[in-house]
Point group: C2
Chain length 268, copies 2
Amino acid sequence: MMPTLSGATRLYVIIGDPIAQARAPGGVTAAFAARGQDAILVPVQVAVADVHDFLSVAARLKNLDGIVATIPHKFVCYEACAGASDRARFLRVVNLMRRRADGKWHGDMIDGLGFVGAARAKGIDIKDRRALLVGAGGAGSAIALALIDAGVSELAIHDNEAARRDGLIERLNTLGKAQVRIGTADPRGYDLVANATPAGMQAGDPLPVDVTRLAPSAYCGCAITRPEVSPFIEAARKAGCVTATGTDMYQAQQEMMLDFLLAEDGQD
Amino acid sequence: MMPTLSGATRLYVIIGDPIAQARAPGGVTAAFAARGQDAILVPVQVAVADVHDFLSVAARLKNLDGIVATIPHKFVCYEACAGASDRARFLRVVNLMRRRADGKWHGDMIDGLGFVGAARAKGIDIKDRRALLVGAGGAGSAIALALIDAGVSELAIHDNEAARRDGLIERLNTLGKAQVRIGTADPRGYDLVANATPAGMQAGDPLPVDVTRLAPSAYCGCAITRPEVSPFIEAARKAGCVTATGTDMYQAQQEMMLDFLLAEDGQD
């Protein structure tokens, strides 16, 4: 349940295409109320062809205080920000934007923190794990950076789009923290497997990795929120793995989202 | 209270500038829930300079099913409609737009029905009343048409903008139903007085009519929703008049709004 809405309620939107799968509208709106904020987060389904026009208009809406970006708008939203956190600038992607005092947008990208937070909530220590990440897009690149910051010993990245995979690997290796290299769909030898692709949202999608080769000791996390349990997570559970779903990942970052959206200027 | 919001919730917006005074977001959203609809009406503050761009983008948002227009956007919203009810076409103004199956907007203008409905809810028979209307804008013109349709014997219209006043009078007289003529701020001789101007929203605003000349038998209605009781209505009550506020007028039209927004194609 949510508090009463009025003409004075401050507006936040989550944009994506599709948008029906998004968990944030209900959770963030309830969390606004829990913090005493008369504010709401509403879903807006914006096509790729329309997102530039949408962002142009959104910048001028007087009661719109923030934007949450989901697939496929996280990169274009970064371009619309006048400023952003260090991690968002490294990744060149945002999933959160809040209105600054000068009316412009300040961005952050916390999908990776959600992945790491969900693992910790399951009792998993990420440090020194050998990690395989599938998907080098917006969420994938953020998860990669967060895994490195959390201390994985090595990180392999699998993505059929070789250019974005190799570009991400190259940039991550400039950090000099973990060995980052090209991965495959074979999870043998890894004790952390992350899916950051949409494979599993539609019936008949291929699995992101060869689940017959998952070790029971491998922690498996997935970014998909709908279905609630993706085929990858279902298979990982059958293999005896500790798992976290996209909803677990979302839950782990919801309070961070609120902290960011409601922060004052000058704070990350 | 409202039901739980999700990414699949269908979106309706009310646009205006200002927007904080709008009653519809809470009321319509609760009424959607009462009808079993997973839908929400949210306030969006759009400046006059931005409304064309806003409407251009709104037409392309895939989960936006309707728009409620308030001051100052009711005329431009009519222009954005591919079709509209007879009364909206006569007035060339809309306060409601719903998405047709072909993706375009169908409009209606029910502010006048709200005024008449509020009067009836107060036990007032409008037939054969001598009416004075102040304000010939979007809401005013709709109230004028609804008063004529409800059977007033005469209608005087007062507005400092002579061109729009005279244009409205001329068009209303083509209906051949009631005698419509120019009015003044003097309510003597009238037994129905309607304020459709924003005079009274701000402290220090002039009163729309000379309230020292109100007859206790005159029914007084006002379109202002904030403050809850406008100075005009406060004075009319002191004079012994039966009154209705803008909120009464809003309440009278809320179910009509729902009927329109949720109707199928081909229905007015």
